[in-house]
Symmetry: C3
Subunit: 205 residues, 3 copies
């Protein structure tokens, strides 16, 4: 549990960092960027807790999540003016964080006895809704609805976790396999530009 907690905080900080870097395009001030960084980090779990009725939401009585998001966002804000990072620097940490959020969200819902489909949804919501809210606040169509198979990787990971759990292998092993699978799908999709079909094909129009 302690390892999960530390990894969870790491995932929050990765979300906050990437959100700050993306917010560079818009004309936000320090406050705006920091708020969006924190929301990107904790938004997914917050929506999950609201829908499941786990209230108050998880960061109300443990301020570490907010602190980590604030610090990561603020540091990135000031460093981003100096430092230019290679574009893909955070792709792997981001994929790992997404996988972690997926298994945490799915495990929580399974623990509450929800149907499998809903448990998988809760995993995906935990993984992607921080980014969805970030994009809405930045007035953009959420990235995950437009590009490659980010959310689909999360959904696949949640499915693997639920299937392995149902097969009765230990929860820790199931979590590990699901996470590795999620990261692998995500990275493979980026490497080979695998995409889901779109409504309006380039050929058709």
């Amino acid at each position: 549990m302690s390892l999960i907690y530390v990894l969870d905080l790491c995932a929050v900080s990765v979300c906050a960092i990437t959100a700050t870097l993306e917010a560079r395009r818009s004309e936000l001030d320090l406050f705006g960027v920091t708020v969006i960084a924190v929301i990107a980090g904790i938004g997914g779990g917050t929506v999950r807790d609201l829908l499941l009725g786990r209230l108050p939401v998880y960061w109300v009585y443990d301020a570490s999540y907010v602190v980590v998001g604030l610090v990561a966002g603020t540091l990135t804000f000031f460093l981003a003016r100096r430092l230019v990072l290679p574009k893909n620097f955070f792709l792997i940490p981001d994929a790992v964080g997404m996988a972690l959020f997926t298994v945490i969200g799915t495990s929580i819902a399974l623990g509450l006895g929800t149907p499998s489909l809903v448990a998988a949804l809760m995993g995906v919501i935990t993984a992607v809704f921080g980014g969805v809210i970030r994009d809405i606040l930045c007035n953009e169509v959420p990235l995950i609805f437009r590009t490659d198979i980010y959310a689909t990787a999360s959904l696949a990971g949640a499915g693997v976790l639920i299937a392995l759990d149902a097969l009765g292998i230990g929860h820790n092993a199931a979590v590990l396999i699901a996470m590795v699978g999620t990261v692998a799908i995500r990275l493979a999709a980026m490497r080979w530009h695998i995409q889901l079909p779109r409504l309006r094909d380039e050929g058709a129009a």
Copy 2:
């Protein structure tokens, strides 16, 4: 109750179908379209449940709503590439679904003993917030704030239901009359282009 349940699922699927058709304009992939379809179908009731504290929200322990939304959205996604439907094909199902969501939301709030105004609001929220969230995710000003009297028809239906309930006629009769009234107002508004006043008139500017 069983009839209401079936009609409710039908209304969810109509919302999912129309959301998928509207999402055609944007450059969403299959995942994005399906998520928006499901959210359009269950978003209104979800917001209502959150505000009223009916948690977990209604679809957490009954996955049928999500399944219906997913199936309707996915089928429409693939059919929409082939099939061109007349523009007004879903106007009547949509009006009926909206009326049904209105009476369900209002009835739930009345059952919890909220003030009449709040009960009417909950009816409107159930009927229109799925569409509001859909439009926000598609980065558009929500349609219901801009055009004709969609939401006003819902508000009128909620008012009729509350008034008839207060008069002591049976709840089922009240529900039926309110639904017919809502659909009638909605269709009349479309037929004769009845609109609410706007802040900036075309004449004035």
Copy 3:
């Protein structure tokens, strides 16, 4: 308590009025403007109640908040077509309302025993999220993320309240000092155009 209640309703109406005036730019109809006015007035406290699990949210069993928002929004809608107010007419009422929302939100969270940082956040959320949701619905990047130190003034006020409370001076005195401080920072920031740093400086680019 009664004074706070009256002031709270006044703050809701100020939010509703300013939201209606701002909505003039978009092409909303009467329904859309009124809904956005009400949401601007009660949205912040609603998000706070959801996150803290104080459900149903505060306006469900006391319709006065919704009534005040509706009346203020509707009156402004019709008056705004006739009357042109000086641009700064609502700056001071708005600053006072923001300060009041801040101390109410912070006090509620402190009363629930949340960590200080979270209590301060709840004050800021109560003060600014009505405007955030208003801007999202109008399809704009929320104003508070872009301009001057509106939210920062709220955060400072929450910090003052928490510090004074911790020092053990009476809660009423702490509330009063925090509110005066918040209003002073807000008005000073507007008078002397104090701004937070931005990611993309005009000089750099």
